[in-house]
Symmetry: C2
Subunit: 223 residues, 2 copies
């Protein structure tokens, strides 16, 4: 399958997004589908990391990708080239997705037969972190060119994430990026945050990240 | 002066932000103060570009910098090292500044004796673009590592900006960034957008950007 739909998702009618997100997680549990919410700044490399992750997990897991964006379908187009199921969600100008918007996407998408669905959230370190999408786990990408001070400036997203992928590590020699400092600052925000330095370009670190995903999906399907 | 205040700004009580932004521009005109609203993704290099711009313009213009952030003062601390007047605005979790929040900052700051005030907006390509801050001109930075597809994905910010600074051009050899494509995509959004490729690290392109600023400030003060 190499096509993708574009869906205009509408803001939730539910008063409590948190309760709705919990409901969505239970629905996903029933379907044995693991939903990962992937967040980052624009240009941190979400789509590139996803393409490499799809390659690495292709034999093991049935995967799908939901791309959320204000307005465009360049990401869904890129993902559809990999052959996995993909869909483009348009947020109508909004810079986040809530649980019901995510559910609308999942419904159109048809996710029940998938082991792993990745929601590529809108590129933004602020708003997406404020809304529980109903995902089983939250991951964020911080790219080396963005700098190691980001946990100081965008505390919430580091607090709500389970995993921090530090991307574009192949360009470390060209930037003043301090891996020890970013680890210290990120763990100040969230001592349980797992950190995976990764270069999608060279493949360095991809195994650890993909193994974490495999284990989390296996645990979600079994328990 | 090497100190800076931290101000918690509150959302506007005005029904029409657009009308209030126009009022603020008239107030700035009366004071002969040019306000530049500078926007970008997190980590695109706003603060670094500003520090170099301050160095370049130090002899010519009385400058000040207002740093807006969700929660932190690392940027104001960095700017205050340059010796120009600086202030940190906290938005209380909000990812944008409106005209009245900007005015609150300007009042605390004391800007009447300054030729040029730069408002470093919250790092975000979505929300800040939706609110007129009252600035005389809007500029945005897109850094080379973010990729040349951003005008396709974040149309509004390219539409509302007068200037696009393409930063970190020194790392062009290490990224698949197509300068012709970004120019084409950006001009699709806004045919009048001025584009300045700049490396704050090597200084390349800084003259053209600083000259544009000098000319705009001079025009604002004279007409």
């Amino acid at each position: 399958m190499d096509q993708y739909k574009v869906i205009e998702v509408k803001e939730s009618v539910f008063a409590s997004n948190d309760a709705d997100a919990e409901r969505l997680r239970q629905e996903l549990k029933g379907d044995k589908t693991f939903l990962l919410n992937l967040m980052s700044s624009p240009g941190a490399g979400k789509t590139t990391l996803l393409k490499k992750t799809i390659e690495a997990l292709r034999g093991d897991l049935a995967m799908g990708v939901m791309e959320a964006d204000i307005d465009s379908d360049v990401d869904a187009a890129a993902i559809s080239e990999t052959g996995v199921r993909s869909i483009q969600l348009h947020t109508g100008g909004m810079c986040h997705l809530d649980a019901d918007m995510t559910r609308q996407g999942l419904r159109e998408f048809g996710a029940q037969d998938l082991d792993l669905v990745v929601l590529e959230n809108v590129g933004n370190l602020v708003c997406p972190a404020e809304f529980d999408t109903g995902a089983v786990k939250n991951a964020m990408i911080l790219s080396v060119p963005e700098g190691h001070d980001k946990p100081l400036k965008y505390p919430l997203i580091f607090q709500v994430c389970d995993v921090l992928v530090i991307s574009k590590t192949d360009v470390l020699p060209y930037f003043d990026f301090d891996m020890e400092k970013v680890t210290e600052y990120a763990h100040m925000r969230n001592p349980n945050l797992k950190i995976f330095p990764v270069s999608a370009k060279t493949g360095e670190g991809m195994d650890a990240w993909c193994n974490w995903l495999r284990e989390e999906v296996a645990e979600w399907k079994c328990v």
